[in-house]
């Protein structure tokens, strides 16, 4: 097995699931609870192996299902442990009850979502419908583009979650199949430097199961009794306030990461070849790589096209999205999931909402692709670019465009 050197970075070759597991090793959680599910399984198998080999000194709980996985981590976090798990699709669905409790309890966990399309029809392949289905539960959600970004972001997520102005759980989403099993070269940062970066876990100074500080955790709150409404509103306001703060904190964390480890990631929204662009495509997750290839090809043809990659999706980085879109005359948004309410993708819906809050008025072209493991290739993106150019010329095509409709 590939042992990690303690004081120097190291170049390895691995897939996204192993990269996430190695990031967890670097973050040194105290408790990891797991239940396997495709396409996350090899991630938790790696973690189990790391614990068995003594590479990761965490307590590993093999729970009987995802509801128990997250419930166990809630108890561990309340007792002061740094905690981690990962899940996908139906596993996330089974986790839902403790999942919705976690942000309100202000428990700073990190949970990877290895995204998978949602049932039914029955499928085991990638798609972002699972993560998108829980986008309004109060978790921070960030989406990764490649395997290196998975590793770096999982480590950074612990610092974000535990920041005193945030104290919220974080989902690091990486696309099932494309990133879970996609293999690439990855630079492992030095463990000692990551220790300095993360510092000691501080997860239960504000809410705890601790005999030295007796308290009731999550007592009955709200209702029409004296002060009930005010106290419930207070907790909710504090929660949405922390979500808003997280954008600034995550940006600071990325800047510190770049300074310490030399890798620069856009924390909220990445602008690619956008400065002189007429039109842009908007992407989320691993599709971004093919999108950048398509932009490069269009540039070679002389078309002024740029790309806007959304990394932080919850909370939605409105200002950064508006700033990027204000540079172009039309945008084509590519979603890897569906908003059943709006006959478009959820990212499209959010971009429309952000634009309405700004003076920017440009036509948007909605595209949905990559469902249930389908490819979104550079050729698909060429169609997105063509449709967006058509919209910029005043002839918006009917939306949504289902990119894999004839594949």
């Amino acid at each position: 097995m590939n042992q990690l050197a303690p004081n120097s970075s190291q170049m390895i070759v691995c897939d996204g699931n192993e990269a996430a597991a190695r990031a967890v090793v670097l973050a040194r959680p105290d408790v990891v609870s797991v239940f396997p599910i495709t396409p996350q399984s090899s991630l938790v198998e790696s973690l189990s192996q790391f614990v068995a080999d003594g590479v990761l000194g965490a307590e590993l709980i093999n729970a009987e299902g995802e509801h128990s996985v997250l419930s166990a981590l809630q108890g561990a976090c309340l007792a002061g442990a740094r905690t981690y798990t990962a899940t996908s699709g139906p596993g996330l669905a089974f986790m839902f009850e403790p999942y919705v409790r976690t942000p309100g309890l202000r428990l700073p966990m990190v949970v990877s979502l290895v995204t998978r399309d949602m049932l039914s029809p029955q499928c085991v392949w990638g798609g972002q419908q699972d993560a998108m289905s829980v986008r309004e539960c109060g978790w921070i959600q960030v989406y990764c583009e490649d395997v290196q970004e998975v590793l770096d972001t999982v480590v950074m997520a612990f610092k974000l979650a535990e920041h005193k102005d945030v104290l919220l759980p974080v989902n690091v989403c990486h696309d099932g199949n494309y990133l879970s099993y996609g293999v690439s070269r990855v630079e492992m940062p030095a463990a000692g430097l990551v220790d300095e970066f993360l510092g000691e876990a501080a997860v239960n100074w504000h809410i705890a199961l601790d005999p030295a500080r007796p308290m009731a955790v999550d007592p009955l709150t709200g209702g029409t009794g004296p002060g009930g409404a005010a106290s419930f509103v207070g907790y909710r306001k504090s929660q949405v306030g922390a979500m808003a703060q997280s954008l600034r904190v995550f940006s600071d964390i990325h800047a510190e990461w770049a300074e310490r480890f030399g890798r620069h990631w856009a924390p909220l929204v990445e602008e690619y070849r956008l400065d002189d662009a007429d039109i842009a495509i908007v992407t989320i997750g691993s599709m971004t790589g093919a999108g950048k290839d398509a932009v490069d090809a269009a540039r070679e043809r002389g078309e002024k096209v740029g790309l806007i990659k959304v990394k932080t999706y919850r909370p939605f980085p409105c200002e950064a999205v508006i700033a990027a879109l204000s540079k172009v005359r039309a945008a084509g948004i590519v979603d890897r999931s569906v908003s059943f309410a709006w006959n478009c993708g959820p990212l499209h819906q959010d971009v429309m909402t952000a634009l309405f809050a700004s003076p920017v008025r440009i036509p948007l072209v909605g595209c949905i692709g990559g469902l249930a493991g389908a490819d979104i290739t550079a050729e698909h993106f060429a169609r997105v670019i063509a449709a967006t150019a058509q919209a910029a010329a005043g002839e918006s095509p009917a939306s949504p465009i289902w990119l894999n409709e004839h594949d």
């Binding site: 309100g104 309890l105 202000r106 104290l167 000691e200 501080a202 100074w205 504000h206 809410i207 705890a208 601790d210 030295a212 500080r213 007796p214 308290m215 009731a216 955790v217 999550d218 007592p219 009955l220 709150t221 106290s231 207070g234 907790y235 306001k237 504090s238």
Partner: protein, 92 residues
């Protein structure tokens, strides 16, 4: 890290409580159990059945603790002597 005193934490950060609030169900009661002391034989059936365990033993009868009794009427239903009547709170 140093752990702060829970009573000094921001009030709106995480839902915790450090003072006991009894939240007794007596506030909810619409009907109150009234015991006919002449009929009560202290058999303790009401004491056994009361779901909130609020029946207290008196010298010659049993009676509900009104701060806890939620007025469900189980005691009146179960009493073998028909010694308990449920009376509307407002009428009392």
């Amino acid at each position: 890290m140093p752990m702060p005193d829970p009573s000094n934490l921001p009030k709106d950060l995480a839902p915790i409580a450090t003072r006991l609030s009894a939240m007794l169900p007596g506030d909810w009661r619409a009907l109150r159990p009234v015991v006919d002391r002449a009929k009560c034989v202290k058999c303790a059936v009401c004491w056994l059945f009361c779901p909130v365990q609020c029946i207290a033993e008196k010298p010659r009868w049993f009676a509900a603790d009104m701060s806890v009794c939620k007025g469900c009427g189980v005691c009146a239903q179960e009493c073998p002597q028909n010694a308990i009547a449920m009376v509307e709170e407002d009428a009392a």
